[in-house]
C-alpha cells in the first residue's frame, strides 16, 4: 500500500470515524445537560421563529457595529466563502463527495477555484498575523486557535501545491493533501471548528430568549 492508498483508505476511514464519534459525543453531551425553562410571561409569541431568525441574522452585524468590526468580518467572510468555493466547487472534491454520497453537481471553472484558493490562503495568513499582533486576539488566543488555523490552512496549501504540481510528484502531493484533510477531520470535533454546529444552538437560544422579551435579536 503506497502513501496515497493509505491516505485515501484506512487513514480517511479512521479520520472519518473519529470525526463522527467526536461530533456525536460533543453534541450529545451538551444536549444531555438539563435545560432551564423560562417561565416569565412572554411579551409577544413567536420565540421559535425568533430563534430561527437569529441563526441567520447573526451572519451580519447590526449596522452600528459594522465600522468597528470591518476587518475581522472581511477576513472571516473571505475565509469561509473561499473554503466553500474550493470544497464544493472544484471538480476533484465533487468527485470525492460523489464517491460516498452519490451526489454530484457541475464544478466551477478552474480559474475560479484557483483565485478562491489564493484569496483564502491570503485571508488565512492575514488572520494569523492579526491574531498574533492584535492585543485582544493575542490575549484571547490559545492552542485551539493556532492548531485550528494550522489544520485549516494545511489542506489549502497542499491543495494549491497539488494543483500546481509544485514541490513533489502529483501522487505524493495528493497524498499529503488528503492526509492533511484527515488531520482536519480528526481535530474538527475537539476544537473550535465545531462552531459550525454549536453556533446554530447558541444563536437559536439567544434568539428565543430575546424574542420572548420583545428585544432585538
Amino acid at each position: 500500500m503506497d502513501l496515497l492508498e493509505f491516505a485515501r483508505g484506512p487513514a480517511l476511514q479512521v479520520a472519518s470515524l473519529i470525526f463522527a464519534a467526536g461530533l456525536v459525543w460533543r453534541l450529545i453531551h451538551i444536549f444531555l445537560i438539563p435545560k432551564k425553562t423560562d417561565i416569565s410571561e412572554a411579551r409577544f409569541g413567536g420565540e421559535k421563529m425568533g430563534g430561527l431568525r437569529t441563526i441567520f441574522s447573526r451572519f451580519v452585524h447590526h449596522q452600528p457595529f459594522r465600522r468597528r468590526t470591518r476587518n475581522g468580518t472581511l477576513l472571516a467572510y473571505t475565509t469561509h466563502i473561499g473554503l466553500a468555493i474550493i470544497v464544493f466547487g472544484s471538480a476533484p472534491h465533487i468527485l470525492f463527495i460523489e464517491s460516498f454520497s452519490g451526489l454530484s453537481w457541475t464544478p466551477l471553472p478552474n480559474v475560479v477555484i484557483h483565485v478562491a484558493g489564493a484569496l483564502t490562503l491570503a485571508a488565512l495568513l492575514t488572520s494569523l498575523g492579526r491574531r498574533l499582533s492584535h492585543p485582544v486576539l493575542k490575549m484571547l488566543s490559545n492552542f485551539d486557535d493556532y492548531f485550528t488555523w494550522l489544520v485549516t490552512t494545511l489542506p489549502v496549501v497542499t491543495g494549491l501545491l497539488a494543483v500546481a504540481h509544485v514541490g513533489a510528484r502529483y501522487e505524493m502531493l495528493l497524498a499529503i493533501h488528503i492526509l492533511s484533510f484527515n488531520v482536519f477531520l480528526i481535530w474538527f470535533p475537539f476544537g473550535k471548528l465545531m462552531h459550525s454546529f454549536i453556533a446554530i444552538g447558541s444563536r437559536y437560544t439567544t434568539g428565543v430568549t430575546f424574542t420572548r422579551r420583545g428585544a432585538r435579536v
Binding site: R68, L140, Y204, R213, A215
Partner: protein, 452 residues
C-alpha cells in the same frame, strides 16, 4: 459579612467625588481559606451550568469582536476589558470540569485548574468593568449572551466572598433593612406623605385591595422623591385603584447584582407576596433598569411558577395609557435627547415605549448616535456605581455618553432609570458638565392635561 480593613476603609455614604485615588485591590468577605473560596466559587458556578450555558461556553471562537461593543474596551483599548475575556477563568473551569472532553483536558493537563489568585484578579473584570449592559450579547456573531454569563459568574464570586466590598455592603444593607440606601419602610412612609403634600395629591399606602401595586427604587425615594408624587398624580388622574405596600415597596435588587441568589429571591418575593396580598393585577415598576429585569424576566424563576399578575415598567404603562387615550398630556416645547436604560430597552424589549410618550408630549427628540437598542450604557449599571475604586474607569467611559449627548445639541437628557440618572448627575459634577438628566415620568406628571 463584609470586612473592611483600616488600610481600605469602607465608605458608602460620602459624596462620590470625595474619592480621589481609588486603591487598586480586590476585596474579600468572610473567613475562608483560599481552597474554600475556590471550592465555593467553582461549586456555585457548576450549579448554574445548564444546556444554554454549556452551549455558550462551547460556541466562542475567540474572534474578539465583542470588545468592539464594550464601552470599557472602546474607551480604554485595554484588551482585558474584552467581554468574553471577563469569563475566561470560568470558561477554563467549564472546559476542564464539565465539558465533553473534560476528562482529556484533565488527564493531559491541557487546561489548568483555576486558582483563587485568578478569581481575585478577575473580580475587577466581573464587577468594576461590566455593567451587564448586553451590548456584547447583541453583537456576538456566535450569539453568546455574555451578559447573562457574567451574572452567573458573579454567583460563584459572591459565594466565595470575592466581590467588591462596597457592593457587598450595599447588598447586605438591602437584605437587612429592605433598602440599599436606608429607605426603610418608615422612611419611605415619611417621604411618601411629604410628596403627597408637595404634589397636592393622594398617596395610598397599605390598602387592603388594589389593582396596581406601585413600587419605587431606593434612589428615587432618597434622591429623587418627586417620582413618588409624579406616579401618584398620574395614577390618581387615571382613577386607578392603587397602593404602595410597606412590606414590598422597594424594587431594586442588589442581591441580583452582587450575585447572591438567596438575597435576590428575598427581594423579589417581597414584591410578589405584597402583590398577591392586595390582589394586584399589575405590579408597576419604577424608573429603574435592573428592577425591571429582576421582576419582569427573572421574577417567575424566583417564584417557581408564572407570576399571577402583570409586570410593567412605568414607561410601558405610560405608553399604554397614552396610546389608548386614557391619559392626556400637554405639549412641551423642549428639545431633548433620550438615554435608553440598557435593562429596559436592549435587554428588556421596551425600547419603543418612552418614544411613544415623548411623541405625545410633542418633544423635539434628537436621538443619540447610536440610539435605542444600540445606545451606549451610562456606565453605572450592574452595581458599578457603588464601587468606589471603579470611579475613574466609570468616568472614562462616561466620556462616550457626553460626546453622544453633545452631538445631539439637545438641552435636556431624559431617561427612565434612576440609576442612570444618578450616574449621569454624578458624572456631571465630576466633569462640571452643563447637562442634567431628567425623568420622563416626572415630565409627564408635570404636564397632565386638564381634561384628565
Amino acid at each position: 459579612m463584609t470586612q473592611a480593613t483600616e488600610q481600605y476603609p469602607l465608605d458608602t455614604s460620602e459624596q462620590r467625588l470625595t474619592i480621589r485615588e481609588p486603591h487598586p485591590r480586590h476585596d474579600t468577605q468572610g473567613d475562608m481559606t483560599a481552597d474554600e473560596r475556590l471550592r465555593k466559587a467553582m461549586a456555585n458556578f457548576a450549579k448554574d451550568i445548564n444546556r444554554t450555558t454549556a452551549t455558550y461556553m462551547e460556541a466562542c471562537v475567540h474572534c474578539g469582536q465583542c470588545a468592539e461593543a464594550c464601552h470599557y474596551y472602546v474607551r480604554t483599548e485595554d484588551p482585558r476589558y474584552t467581554p468574553i475575556w471577563k469569563l475566561e477563568i470560568f470558561k477554563q473551569a467549564y472546559k476542564r470540569e464539565n465539558s465533553p472532553f473534560g476528562l482529556f483536558y484533565r488527564a493531559l493537563g491541557l487546561k489548568r485548574k483555576v486558582s483563587v489568585e485568578q478569581l481575585g484578579e478577575w473580580q475587577e473584570l466581573l464587577y468594576d468593568s461590566c455593567t451587564m449592559c448586553g451590548r456584547c450579547s447583541l453583537m456576538c456573531p456566535m450569539g453568546i449572551d455574555i451578559a447573562t454569563l457574567i451574572g452567573q459568574a458573579r454567583h460563584g464570586m459572591f459565594e466565595a466572598g470575592l466581590i467588591p466590598d462596597e457592593l457587598h455592603a450595599v447588598a447586605q444593607r438591602a437584605r437587612e433593612e429592605g433598602s440599599p440606601l436606608g429607605a426603610t419602610a418608615s422612611v419611605f412612609e415619611d417621604r411618601a406623605e411629604w410628596m403627597a403634600d408637595e404634589h397636592d395629591t393622594e398617596v395610598y399606602i397599605d390598602e387592603d385591595e388594589a389593582d396596581i401595586l406601585v413600587t419605587m427604587s431606593s434612589i428615587e425615594i432618597m434622591k429623587y422623591p418627586n417620582a413618588i408624587g409624579a406616579t401618584a398624580k398620574i395614577l390618581n388622574a387615571l382613577g386607578e385603584k392603587w397602593t404602595f405596600r410597606t412590606e414590598g415597596y422597594e424594587a431594586t435588587n442588589f442581591g441580583m447584582m452582587a450575585g447572591n441568589v438567596e438575597w435576590q429571591k428575598h427581594a423579589t418575593m417581597k414584591l410578589i407576596d405584597s402583590a398577591i396580598k392586595c390582589g394586584a393585577k399589575l405590579v408597576l415598576l419604577p424608573e429603574c433598569g435592573h428592577a425591571y429585569g429582576a421582576l419582569r424576566w427573572q421574577g417567575a424563576a424566583m417564584y417557581g411558577k408564572p407570576l399571577p399578575f402583570k409586570v410593567q415598567h412605568v414607561s410601558e404603562f405610560l405608553a399604554d395609557v397614552i396610546s389608548s387615550g386614557r391619559l392626556k398630556v400637554k405639549k412641551v416645547d423642549q428639545t431633548v435627547t433620550f438615554h435608553d436604560p440598557c435593562q429596559v430597552s436592549r435587554r428588556g424589549g421596551a425600547t419603543p415605549a418612552p418614544r411613544v410618550v415623548m411623541e405625545a408630549l410633542g418633544l423635539d427628540l434628537k436621538e443619540m448616535v447610536p440610539t435605542g437598542d444600540f445606545n451606549w450604557c451610562c456606565g453605572g449599571g450592574g452595581g458599578v456605581v457603588t464601587i468606589h475604586r471603579a470611579d475613574r474607569l466609570r468616568y472614562k467611559v462616561f466620556e462616550l455618553k457626553m460626546e453622544q449627548v453633545e452631538a445631539t445639541g439637545a438641552d435636556t437628557v431624559l431617561s427612565t432609570c434612576s440609576n442612570c440618572r444618578q450616574s449621569y448627575n454624578d458624572a456631571k459634577e465630576h466633569f462640571h458638565w452643563d447637562k442634567t438628566m431628567e425623568s420622563l415620568l416626572e415630565l409627564v406628571a408635570d404636564n397632565l392635561a386638564e381634561e384628565n
